[in-house]
Symmetry: C2
Subunit: 333 residues, 2 copies
């Protein structure tokens, strides 16, 4: 392997390895997001799909199917399914969060309206469901139906946990499982299931996806306080402004003295924020080592992801999955 290849990010190497499959997935996505009767649908969807996230979730499905020796056609369906579910939840999230920016571009709810985001999300969710039915695998349907329920439940839980200083790390982790890890673990699990992998390998793939998803979200929440807006495609301090209790905040609140607690009550519970509050919040996170402690949890999850892969056979994809787990936590400054 040349130094250039070595230097590539693991998801870029994975994308290169899965290039022809990903092309098939993209074709299927484009085909199925069409609507004969309602041209608004592909307009809205294209805006989001063309913005091209990293397509990490569908790649996980393709990768795990390959890792388990699958040579049928349905991993393409499942990868498109996973991306449709992801896109549908992004559309609904942006309505819920009243976001103005996603992947560095204006959100669909800003360009069109909330109505379009809600209904086009519903359409994509239904289309994802059709794609899975085509695989003919009830087990796959069961996994993805459960993941969908967990996602929605996590989002509702986040709604009620927001602005609530009593939110514990346990509740936070339930939210994270819902909003992120449930789809990661379903993506990796169905790759194994469609390949007919033995139960211990399927369980291992589920755990890898779960740990990777949890690590990924914790790092995301960390970068919200210390990343730079260009690199993460959103603004620093969004979670603070939206009064979301993410892990760094929860850790700082737990160690707050009376004066600090008053600060958190005012800014998070009462939502009375001033310009200088974000910097003060970040100072408090540093004071209590909340960012460092959060990074320790993220690194432990990445280690859990790598360890989970033990029952899987040696395969170039396996090495990429290991590197991917490392890379997720390497994003931490």
């Amino acid at each position: 392997m040349s130094r250039t290849e070595n230097a590539q990010k693991p998801h870029d190497r994975m994308a290169a390895y899965l290039e022809s499959d990903m092309a098939a997935v993209n074709t299927l996505i484009r085909e199925r997001m069409a609507s004969k009767h309602a041209p608004r649908i592909p307009e809205v969807t294209a805006h989001l799909v063309d913005a091209g996230g990293k397509r990490l979730r569908p790649m996980l499905t393709l990768a795990t199917a390959h890792l388990c020796g699958y040579d049928g056609p349905f991993h393409i369906n499942l990868a498109a399914t996973v991306e449709f579910i992801h896109t549908a939840t992004l559309l609904h999230d942006d309505v819920v969060d009243e976001s103005g920016q996603r992947r560095g571009r204006p959100t669909a709810n800003l360009l069109w309206d909330n109505k379009s985001s809600v209904l086009v999300g519903d359409y994509l969710f239904s289309r994802s469901f059709q794609l899975m039915v085509e695989t003919g695998s009830l087990r796959v349907l069961d996994i993805l139906a459960n993941a969908s329920a967990t996602i929605a439940e996590g989002e509702v839980l986040q709604l009620t946990a927001s602005q609530n200083l009593a939110t514990t790390e346990e509740i936070y982790l339930q939210v994270v499982r819902g909003k992120t890890a449930a789809l990661f673990s379903a993506a990796t699990e169905v790759g194994g299931v469609i390949a007919g992998a033995p139960d211990d390998q399927v369980a291992a793939l589920f755990e890898y996806g779960d740990a990777l998803g949890v690590a990924f979200q914790i790092v995301d929440d960390l970068l919200d306080f210390q990343g730079d807006a260009g690199a993460i495609g959103k603004n620093i301090g969004d979670d603070f402004r939206e009064r979301k209790l993410t892990m760094p905040l929860i850790k700082a609140v737990a160690k707050a003295d009376a004066e600090e607690r008053a600060f958190w009550v005012r800014t998070i519970e009462k939502g009375k924020q001033e310009e200088s509050d974000l910097q003060h919040a970040i100072d408090l996170l540093h004071k209590h080592a909340a960012l460092f402690d959060t990074s320790v949890v993220a690194r432990a999850e990445a280690a859990r992801a790598k360890a989970a892969l033990a029952p899987l056979p040696a395969h170039p994809v396996k090495d990429m999955l290991v590197d991917l787990a490392d890379y997720v936590v390497e994003r931490i400054n």
Copy 2:
């Protein structure tokens, strides 16, 4: 049959006939709308489920399963599935329409917020999907996945057709198939499918549901201009105020002279409405016999529904389905 029984409305007779099944459906609905982690979910859902619509759609599934001689347990799952899909679309509709009243009560988006309506709708949709997977029937999954996609597509189409005087009756009927008939026809079709009915009977049940749903929605749109608010659980003229091109309006617009057209352009396309405009709109509908002509189409659809039932065996439920088709159009004054 006593005179009292004769006088009962057909869906009340059907509810009496299906009483023990409906009790099982209600238990299952209550069980599955629970959420260990997010208590907001059953709160929002209970508000809507307890308001107790007529439960027409789940009854159609139970009724058609009985009509085709089914004696297994899964029609209960499917009836609950259909009600969950219906409830999810109502929650999302109320966000889209910015409605304040549903079934004579304040809507969930007003009592909680739009976020809760969107996410709880997503949760119910996922739960409906789990319920269907449990039946183990890929054919049922296929039918309901397709219905879900048609529903979302119809809703998006309605969004772009609103406020547009160029909307044709053809487009209107596509919207109606999406927003109403797709779930009616899926509800009746899966009843036959789960019972293992022969293809011609399944096709007949699909057509019955489709025609009944179309008739039902056309009558609803008619009553929006001539019903009374108490009886229909919403305000007269809502569609006019929301600038929706329903069949009566489309028919009146088609016959408008220059002055009338200017009125429609101002009130529907530009949305500049005054207090007295609703009455003037209703006068124009009467002038062009638009309400009468619409009622003729609804009656034809009800007749199509009844005719579709020919291939089904004689059965008390069959008579109720016939009466139900008559009843839908009897609601017209």
